[in-house]
Amino acid sequence: MTTLAPPSVPSSETDRRLGPQGVRRLFAAADASFAAHLDTFGPLPRGQAGPDLVAELQRAGLDGRGGAHFATWRKLSAARAEHQVRRGPIGLGRGRAVVIANGAEGEPLSRKDAALLALAPHLVIDGLLLAAATVGASRAVLYATAPLLPGVRSALRERTDARDVTLVEAPDTFLSGEASAVVAAVEGRPAVPADRVVRLTASGVDGRPTLVQNVETLAQLALLARYGAGWFRSVGAAAEPGTRLVTVSGGDGRSPLESARTPGGAGRVLEVTGTMSLRRIVEATGIDPARLRAVLVGGFHGAWVPPEAFDLPFTRDALEPWGAVPGAGIVWALADDRCGLAAAADITAYLAGQSARQCGPCLNGLPRLADVLGRLARGDRATWLPGEVTRLAGLVTGRGSCHHPDGTARLVFSSLQVFADDVRQHLEGRCLAGVSSTSTGPGESR
């Protein structure tokens, strides 16, 4: 594998041999067509697939862009190891494994996967094919919501090497992108999480070794295969090299749910690096950080980051004290004239409604949690409310077949911590944001 050092003066031009310089990598092609893709990035480096690619991924330090930060080389290595005896030829061959590009993007505030599939589908397809060849898969699937499938389908038709890629529709639910839900959908069953005791790379779709990767991870992989670990690490932080996509929204009068549901109100997708701070990321979309109460990092299962942490780099280490991870790069800004508890209650109510309703503690606990937190947010002054919120969040944590209750509890705990002053104010009948609820005026109690 040839690794090329980037030129000493970074430019925004893309030399087909050197790779995109600067931070604009994933969207470096002029448009979504195959011709533009080939022009910018060159052909698929099929020869790189295999153990060399796994080693390069390990050197590069690419981790999953779907939220869990799982080291990509480990996943590919595990899927490879499961079927060494039945390795087929390079490309979709006779191996047992299944590779799934996960573009479900169940988090309502996230738009990066949709942007990638709409504007740079060929990088995703390249990554899918390379991963499939590396693990010897005989099946490659792209899983995305209905609006995105026509675009992906035409992208597949532009190529001759992706004839066997199948498309599976992802339902528009929060949990549709959870790994075992993805497997269920590909098997033709409802897209809800399943109880798992075995890793997917050991047994997934139809009992076969299955690799589920976020579409952005695959797109990064496609670039890495061409330009190498050195190029990948040439931007970004040492502990978090390379770029990641973030979706930034909020900072206006909308609740988080409204930000997600309003077309265009879902904010902007940016490509950033770990050295950039939250302040810079937020400013880049035109939101004024000085007028923010907090920023929600990690989507609805994430955590709030207060202004004093806005200058920290966008890395796991820096965000860790706040219980947040860069994850799938979802950033939502809470304006300082909005109530943080109201936003948290809205999110929790949404999450309660999105439960798959398979597991007792989640099915029963989340609505109760949403109810109690909602009361606190609305200005109910009963002093037992904060304690009950804490108790319920602790009760559901770790007691489900997926991490939906855990993520919800994380959001709730973070809200109680970062908005502790709001809690005190609400119990005294006031609100720091001075915002009225639908039924009571500011400062009034029930």
Binding site: A194, D195, V197, V198, R199, Q358, C359, G360, P361, C362, N364, G365, L395, T397, G398, R399, G400, S401, D406
Partner: protein, 109 residues
């Protein structure tokens, strides 16, 4: 375990280990184990909480709550060696077949 053998003490006493009816596979004698709860099957019937009161309590909807275990162990409950036989009974008697016993250490996720 006969119909008359209602007390759990009989099943977890030393002489019950290896007695007829002991399970064929799973953790070896004298070793701790991990009991996995399949929440998609669990209906909170409460038999396991009766057989393993040291490990499991019931929440306000009847579902089992692991006592004194970190969040990561609430779906994979660590069972000390002296309670493994009782755990085997719980696994066998769960009306929803929602429990399974696995030897420690667990494989990585």
């Amino acid at each position: 375990m006969s119909a008359l053998d209602l007390g759990r003490s009989a099943s977890s006493s030393p002489q019950a280990v290896g007695a007829p009816g002991s399970r064929r596979s799973g953790p070896g004698r004298g070793a701790a184990a991990s009991m996995h709860i399949d929440w998609t099957l669990c209906d909170g019937r409460g038999l396991c909480t009766e057989l393993l009161p040291e490990l499991l309590d019931r929440d306000e909807w009847g579902y089992p709550v692991a006592v004194g275990q970190p969040p990561a162990s609430r779906s994979d409950v660590t069972v000390p060696p002296e309670l493994v036989d009782a755990a085997r009974d719980a696994v066998a008697l769960c009306p929803r077949a929602a429990l399974r016993l696995r030897p420690l250490p667990l494989p990585l996720p």
